[in-house]
């Protein structure tokens, strides 16, 4: 299925980001008490997020508001068919405001310029900030009758024990996408990422424009699985590894691998698993789906993450927002969404075997779907203390100067 995903690129390149300076100077200022207010979780140290007295969940049994439902999401990251279906079901219109990354979403929500009800696809590593500043409200499970459809492993996640604030939206791994007809040999084995440093792919590689993912790749190649390190030395070592990549293959750094790989702009490209399923819609007419390939490292070195849906504390239509979340937890709707955005949800029935049998994805991309077992074992990118986060960001900025 081919759909106008070029809008995502269009919006991702718009000048909206520069308004962040002015936006941050206007609107309500959400100020917080201090860095120690962040509840940073890990699989080995799960966290039950605090709920303040003035930020309780809404009561159950309330009437659904007439809308409109205002959603904040990445551009084209929810199927239009589902939005139309929801509108027909509830009679409420749905309005989508977009952002290009999590920091932009946080800035806009904190400044009040995003007056939305529902925040979709929030990265887990920014969740502590939303909770610490009471920007999102606890969920009222009475409205989430489809909650049982979720994988058992995400009903009580380590980053939000009891799923008080969030419901997972999509799950994805990080690997390397490629076109098997354009590479010397299909990427396989434990060190498929070496292709990104292979000079035969000079000018034909891509790296994710995400400082945690890209620097993390450098770390993993060096054998360091501590992707949440606060050590400047470890981060610098990973940056040196990425500089070697710049010298040998000069990669594009963006999040457009889902288009660059199938169109042949890049031959090997760090990407998220959902990107490869999305890439099916960007293949030229004369290229078969079997040409696409996705390599991921062994599970002990594989990054697996999920994002989440949450409801804003100042949502004007919280019941409607809960209704939409419940709507997205229906397997039929999750399948429609996966077919459009490429990324899978964490619902029962979204397993690789089921989707391959249903013909939703080709067998050569079966490994682009995350299994429950892998989800439990994969490496996670977690929130960092602020000082450590600055080290990561400065290192990334230094790499991007290209000097």
């Amino acid at each position: 299925m081919i759909h106008p995903m070029s809008r995502r690129r269009f919006l991702s390149l718009s000048g909206a980001g520069l308004s962040a300076v002015a936006l941050s100077a206007c609107g309500d200022k959400k100020e917080s008490s201090g860095a120690d207010a962040l509840q940073i979780a890990s699989p080995s140290k799960p966290v039950k997020l605090s709920i303040s007295a003035d930020n309780q969940a809404i009561k159950g049994g309330l009437a659904v508001e007439s809308g409109p439902l205002r959603i904040a999401n990445y551009a084209d990251f929810v199927a239009p068919e589902l939005l139309a279906k929801f509108e027909e079901l509830t009679g409420a219109t749905v309005e989508v405001s977009t952002f290009t990354d999590d920091n932009e979403a946080l800035t806009k929500i904190a400044s009040g310029s995003f007056a939305v009800d529902l925040l979709m696809s929030t990265a887990i590593d920014t969740l502590p900030k939303y909770v610490a500043t009471n920007l999102i409200q606890p969920l009222q499970k009475d409205y989430l009758t489809n909650f049982a459809n979720l994988w058992d492993s995400v009903k009580d996640p380590f980053y939000d024990q009891g799923a008080q604030y969030t419901v997972p939206y999509t799950v994805f791994s990080t690997g390397i996408g490629f076109r098997s007809d354009l590479v010397a040999a299909p990427l396989e084995g434990d060190n498929g990422w070496d292709a990104l440093w292979d000079s035969q792919y000079d000018g034909a590689t891509g790296l994710l424009d995400s400082y945690r993912e890209a620097i993390g790749l450098g770390m993993l190649r060096l054998g360091n699985t501590n992707l949440n390190t606060e050590s400047k030395d470890e981060i610098d070592a990973a940056i040196d590894e990425l500089k070697k990549m710049l010298d040998t293959t000069n990669p594009r750094i963006d999040v457009l691998g889902y288009q660059a790989i199938p169109e042949g702009t890049t031959k090997v490209n760090q990407c998220w698993s959902g990107d490869m399923l999305l890439a099916l819609g960007y293949l030229p007419d004369d290229v078969d789906a079997s040409a696409l390939g996705y390599w991921q490292p062994p599970i002990e070195k594989r990054v697996i993450n999920n994002d989440a849906m949450s409801i804003l504390a100042k949502a004007e239509h919280p019941v409607l927002a809960h209704t939409f979340i419940n709507f997205m937890l229906e397997p039929e709707n999750a399948a429609i969404n996966q077919a459009y955005i490429g990324y899978q949800s964490t619902l029962a029935g979204m397993e690789a075997e089921t989707l391959i049998a249903a013909g939703s994805i080709p067998e050569n991309l079966a490994n682009a779907l995350v299994t429950q077992d892998d989800f439990a074992k994969g490496l996670r990118i977690l929130a960092l203390p602020l000082a450590a986060d600055e080290i990561w960001q400065n290192a990334w900025s230094g790499l991007n100067t290209g000097g």
Partner: protein, 300 residues
């Protein structure tokens, strides 16, 4: 005309008519600029890492700005600024090489085709800059028409969209040359044809008339057109983002967007905006001095 007659008193009517526009411009330049300064010299929320602008200059904190300035003068950002300057200079020279002959032809030799050619020159403005760059992205992909056409040249199988400075410069030229041609056309069109006739009458060849009459008279228009194109080029970020996306071609605009959009250090992005603005003001000052001198020569 006597010098006294040239100095007409300021007419309150014209001042009144110009005042709202001038106030509007002042408001939407000064206030945003001050907001940027307030962010650059302000604080950052310890949790959200969003900017907390400091509106009172008494409490401005220059620590972050100083660090950025150090990086610009002697650190990693110096490379980015020098690279951006080189790209802009090359792109402006490219605009001159392409745009001057076009503007000259349309203004002096187009005859009955002038209106048609003018309309064609304005046509690019109907399509957004972003869409025009997207078109080039498709054309320069490995299977794109332009890439395939260029690949027949001996030894030219370069990946046009992967970190090529030439692609970025060509993209800037393509994107901004319409903005170069129109003001230059207006200047060339205003050159009195009788001056050229007089030059020919005095024995100058066509070439000599161009170099000794047309070109000097179009100098101010050339400078104005160069400034009009160079200024936005300096802050451009999506040409590089789209056509290269490589750190090897990173421009100042990319660093600004990176810090403002993707980092928790917006004060650094705001500091870069201020430094860039100061550098551009210096360039603008040079342009204004040039205009002023030219004005004095004309009215002498």
């Amino acid at each position: 005309m006597s010098r006294r007659a040239q100095r007409s008193p300021l007419n309150p009517l014209w001042i009144g008519l110009a005042a709202p526009g001038m106030a509007w411009m002042a408001l939407f330049f000064v206030v945003p600029f001050y907001a940027v300064a307030a962010v650059a010299f302000g604080q950052v929320d310890p949790i959200l890492r969003t900017a907390i602008p400091e509106w009172n200059p008494q409490y401005w904190d220059f620590t972050s700005f100083s660090e950025v300035l150090d990086r610009v003068v002697g650190g990693d950002l110096r490379t980015v600024f020098l690279r951006t300057g080189a790209y802009v200079i090359l792109a402006v020279l490219g605009c001159v090489a392409i745009g001057y002959p076009v503007a000259y032809f349309v203004s002096r030799h187009s005859g009955r085709w002038r209106a048609t050619l003018l309309a064609l020159m304005i046509l690019p403005f109907w399509v957004s800059y972003l869409m025009r760059m997207l078109a080039w992205f498709n054309l320069l992909q490995p299977e794109g028409w332009v890439a395939r056409a260029l690949s027949v040249l001996p030894g030219d199988d370069r990946p046009w969209l992967n970190g090529q400075p030439s692609t970025v410069v060509f993209g800037l030229i393509y994107g901004y040359v319409p903005f170069f041609i129109l003001p230059l056309y207006a200047t060339l069109d205003r050159i009195d044809g009788r001056l050229l006739e007089a030059a020919r009458d005095l024995g100058a060849t066509s070439n000599q008339a161009f170099w000794r009459v047309t070109l000097p008279l179009s100098r101010q228009g050339l400078i104005a057109a160069s400034v009009i194109t160079a200024l936005p080029m300096v802050g451009d970020y999506y040409t590089n983002d789209l056509l290269s996306a490589s750190p090897r071609t990173e421009m100042v605009g990319n660093q600004i967007v990176g810090y403002l959009q993707q980092s928790s250090q917006p004060q650094i992005g705001a500091s870069l905006v201020l430094i860039l603005a100061v550098l551009l003001l210096i360039v603008m000052a040079g342009y204004l001095v040039s205009v002023n001198r030219a004005q004095k020569l004309v009215t002498r």
